[in-house]
Symmetry: D2
Subunit: 427 residues, 4 copies
């Protein structure tokens, strides 16, 4: 298979996104850039705005934060007409190409970034050394979603040049890091007719040249925000009159990590963010704990979630404070269908740059592409989650994460080959 998309174009696009990392529901610049590129192609349709999000969005930032990111996008030159459609956090886009008789193949790539401060050490971190480090200090594409969006655009270009017959839908999904984008997109009408579904991820500790054709072991996950409310008091004068939320939160955290392990499979818990109190001499009136639970199955996640609620509520009771627990985001577990992974594995070795093919592997993390995988599977279709190796210097979600850009080409070609193989086998 010969490459039809220029490496330099892929690299340039990816680096533009890398310089503009945006968190969930704030991917204004990213969405506008993607839409702008897509609308310059000869596609059947480019969808964006509320229509592509079929369920209520969880955990949308408040108006101030949305407005701040919106202005940044505008300042960075995002197209005003696109911005107008996605204002309020209706980010993401879907490219549709209908061409002749054939299957409906969906491909999902995610586009959001993380609240991580990017390394500025040019010696070890290429984006710093080569001038495309994050322009949004404190935010970073530390998981490769800039590469994913690039995969999606490159795939569109290659399929346009190919003899593909059928319908291709590329879902540029917002809010994966906070697992809030998958469910609304899974419930949009655009998903209803998808028969074959691919989701893709770069890296995952696999080297450049390695691809994985069916990934399992997704941990189901649920994010929570617990807001404790007590009573302030002067810590010297009347400690007994306070109702101490920080003490309650500490008791909760200690015991959250102590939820019993489960014989049926892996479980996880993390109190990822905590904040509370106003001054050293005031018994803290307010405190929050934001965290997550996971499980090897949706049932295991629910086991953890129920226990976590109990721990948090008991800790509040213990210290006579109130607590309100909100679910911020959630994703089920899912399984890659061997009906897709097998055929893809058969042809993956022929893709340029692919030096090693792994038919199946385990992830050990979470993903809300699982909502979309489940939606397709529930409709009788097939889904698989594929991986594109890249030599990444730092781990995912660290300040020195980066992708070797050769893997941009490999990813585009691998996805293209997979889509073509599916179309060929299912005419």
């Amino acid at each position: 298979m010969s490459q039809t998309v220029a490496h330099d174009d892929l690299s340039a696009f990816r680096r533009d996104l890398h310089r503009h990392p945006e968190p969930a529901w704030c991917e204004f610049y990213t969405t506008a850039r993607i839409v702008d590129e897509l609308e310059s192609r000869d596609l059947t349709a480019v969808h964006y705005g509320p229509e592509i999000l079929g369920a209520e969005r969880m955990n949308v930032p408040d108006d101030d934060e949305l407005a701040e990111w919106f202005e940044r996008a505008r300042d960075a030159g995002a197209r005003e007409d696109v911005l107008a459609e996605i204002e309020g956090g209706y980010t993401g886009a879907v490219a549709v190409l209908e061409r002749g008789e054939g299957p409906v193949v969906g491909v999902r790539v995610d586009i959001d970034a993380l609240p991580i401060l990017e390394s500025d050490d040019g010696d070890v971190h290429a984006p710093a050394g080569e001038g495309f480090r994050s322009e949004h200090e404190g935010y970073m594409h530390a998981c490769g979603h800039d590469a994913h969006a690039t995969f999606g655009l490159g795939l569109v270009d290659e399929i346009l040049e190919s003899d593909f017959e059928g319908t291709l839908k590329v879902f540029f999904q917002p809010g994966e890091e906070q697992i809030v984008g998958g469910q609304p997109m899974a419930e949009s009408e655009l998903m209803d007719d998808v028969e074959y579904f691919l989701a893709a991820h770069v890296g995952l500790d696999h080297p450049t040249g390695e691809v994985i054709c069916g990934i399992d072991g997704f941990l189901a996950v649920s994010h929570f925000h617990a807001e404790f409310e007590g009573e302030p008091s002067h810590a010297g004068g009347h400690p007994e009159q306070g109702r101490n939320t920080v003490q309650a939160a500490a008791a909760a955290i200690q015991n959250l990590y102590g939820i019993p392990r489960h014989a049926d499979g892996p479980t996880r818990v993390n109190a990822g963010v905590v904040g509370g109190g106003t001054a050293t001499n005031i018994i803290p009136e307010e405190c929050f704990v934001e965290g997550e639970v996971r499980g090897g199955t949706t049932e295991l996640m629910e086991y953890m979630d129920e226990k976590a609620h109990r721990v948090i509520e008991s800790a509040a009771d213990m210290h006579e404070v109130d607590v309100d627990i909100e679910t911020l985001g959630r994703a089920p577990s899912a399984t890659s269908d061997q009906e897709l992974a097998g055929p893809i594995a058969e042809i993956a070795g022929e893709v340029d740059g692919v030096t090693n093919v792994i038919e199946r592997d385990e992830l050990g993390g979470s993903e809300d592409a699982t909502y979309m995988m489940q939606a397709v599977q529930d409709n009788g279709g097939y889904a698989t989650y594929v991986g594109v190796g890249t030599d990444h210097p730092g781990g995912h979600h660290t300040s020195t994460f980066d992708v070797e850009e050769e893997s941009l080409d490999i990813g585009v070609d691998f996805l293209t080959a997979a889509v073509l193989e599916i179309a060929e086998r299912n005419p």
Copy 2:
């Protein structure tokens, strides 16, 4: 004793300060207003800027925060020439009046505010109802230091009108709430010759009309900031690779509150502020705990401080994270001299508006006026801490704290009477 300062002037000054609450080392507007008033009086000298702060200042905010408050003061119309002297956080002022032979009497009033959101319920909170609520959202004069500064200014006016012989120094001290202003001011040269010393506080759960002539029971206090640093990791993918600072902080907090009580007297501990982590799915790399310990004596405070360090360091060890503990502010215990409290109690009943005189009482809180009291006592002088009752609807450090303004007049007259009595007895 007849009043020489108009009630309306006192009220107007206090309300102006109330509208502009400023935290430690950021009292730019407050200082400029005080200096402006003082310089319009016929005083021997008005000191401000670095010269009045004789020791290194602890816990100065960073440049950004200083700059923000500086700009706010400028916007509110603070005098530029004063601002130029106190830029960088050299807040506070000292008024000096030398008149004839007589003792050197120092009076300390503090001027800073708290990071508390003021009630906007005009039905229960007069500043909201009558239009002088805080203009700095999230900050509030919730401990009456606006009244204290007013006491100081009124005292100057009344002594100017009186037949006082001797030297009066009024210390408008910054940063009491964070116990950072007392030590630098205690170590300024202006304190060296003070023979008699009064510090004053309004409220303290005493009603309008009640005054206290000698307050003891100051808890010695030390504020700390513990900064934990660990290792981030993906909470689903590799929980074992993280070194979790939030878990360490929770273990520390749980055990800080469990430091053994002490038979020798009261102790206190509070983890007043906590914050850490970046995302629900990242093992939190950084977390801080800011808190305080107190003791009925300086020794008891030191007992608590030593134990607190041990708890925090062991909690860090336990979870394999690093921790750095900084002392933010500190104040010793102190005792009011009966040599001052007794004579003041004898004449307090004659002051207008005073309906009840309490010779001695206990505070149960902390104060860094104790540094100044100790400095005078160490030089062979006498010091006392006096109280001026006021009917306050909410407790100190709550969002509905307020002073009944009748107590402004009482406080001014009471302090004036005390200063005159001291001068008379010690010619």
Copy 3:
């Protein structure tokens, strides 16, 4: 005042008791020995058995434990007729001497011992060196109640030899260490007519020769036993099926020590005994925590007790286990009447061996003599708690506690002088 009781007799009696330390409600040998001595004197009455305990006894050991101590007493030669009366744990005795017109004076001495392993180092611990170390391994007179009982017997002897007019009642109280004996004895009919009341304690960090005439600062106290019940499970096979009582108890203990200090005065909390679980590989089904709370006033103790219940119950909820909390013993706070302390202080200096008289002091511990003091005070009488110094090498409740036996004579003479003074002043 000249001594009428031989030092050697006092020493021999005390050493006999010291060799036979017995815990609460198990003072079978001790009671029988005391009764045997008392019945050999010319007293009006010697009471023992159920009649001297006017309220339900708390925390009586189970039948097996009672039986074991009963047999030990029998083996040690206790009088069978006395044992028959006190079987089931009705320990303690009251000596009554009625002689002529005069006041009814009650004196309380306690007789029980502690579950502490006595030192066997004869070089530092006289009972080990001189052959009267505990014969009940693991139990020890580590608080001097052997001396107290000796005070009581010596007092009877001296009053018998004196010209005392009135009624003397000496209460040999069981179960003080577990604060279970004071209330039943306070509610016996024998207390009803007591007009003047003394309770006595040896040591308390005062040296031989020092006596204290009125002790205050008793901490009110309440002992609790919390029994957690969960669900066992194999810790490897099904950790999620267990309901873990040890985890619940640990959460409770951590947070018990963190109950907020109180501005109104001293508080205490201790989780003194804990036990639970059956094997390393079984999620522990049962666990108990036995502890206590104290307060400088009865209200402060109740504050702590209420919080402790909440903490324990919430910790149980948190880990889905049941808990049952029982109150084991309780004692209020109390105050010594100056009406007694003053007169006693006036004459104490004349007592043989007394080199220093302290009129009033603070204890900082708890005592259930307070029930008896309150009962007398509630009836319009007067009560005081007195101290008899002794050079004790180890602290109270440690394995090397001991009394210097010269203080036996001082204590007897001091109490005798106090009783005679009371009788003289209140004919």
Copy 4:
């Protein structure tokens, strides 16, 4: 295959053992009964006493406890000559039958019981209803090792009656529940020549009629005993002078359960037994925590063990107490060889009573048969761990665990068939 051992004999033997449950190193009666039976058969040798234990035994009970169980065994009629050999806790036995040329086949059955109080509800618990409930109150065969020992004896009988050629060694292993018997027995010389090795377990949630031919998923395990030592003090008088071991233990327990989960596989932790303190009013000087860690691999167990040590030591530091951590028992992970599991699965269906054959399954618990499996595998031999289903009303390690006795016959026949198949295939 026809049965040669009478069901009634198997049942009677099992019930005799069931009535006499004995914990690790105290299986005096059990060993004597087994030896007595074996010596009545025509075997090549019956080994017992120190010679069968080739490594130092961990966690041997103290002399008092050994003596108590020894006396109980004697009282129950155990043979004196056997008791003399195994005094001191050298329990267990090995039966050896050498017959002709052929492979050396080892079979391990364990014989110890658990510290669990057996149900006395005859309606739901057959041993209670049919009169063979535990005679050692508080101890119980709650894991079926009575059945295992019966398997071993029945196997000997059937092989004696068969045409087996080769050497059979049946290892009656002590101390499995505390994972202390496997290593010493694995290191005895009797293991050196074993070429094929079977270990067997009854139940494991499989019904009667089901057998498993190769079990994996053993969790490596390590048991620890942590002994904290602090300083006692009177909890009311001087709480600050104590160094509180119960507080340290609680901090340790809270954080032990919070050791991070590991991405590489399952981990476990349990603080199974805790005990400390002497009285409610004494700051507890001594406390112990006994627990275990496990891992899906030996490495994961070691990860947990290292973290557990750190947590315990930091908790001790935090509360200024000393701690000593001892390893009580340990077992590695292990894998069943398909070279044995496969052939056994082929013939298992022919065994009387077997209705379902499972070739391979996962355990999810720990076992120290893994030491013996590893020893054989290290010598180039093969090992497998087989299961014999039984309808058990309560779970393993619960008070109502029981085996359906039909499974005794199935187990004997299944093991016999396996041994004969191995001998036939490896002449």
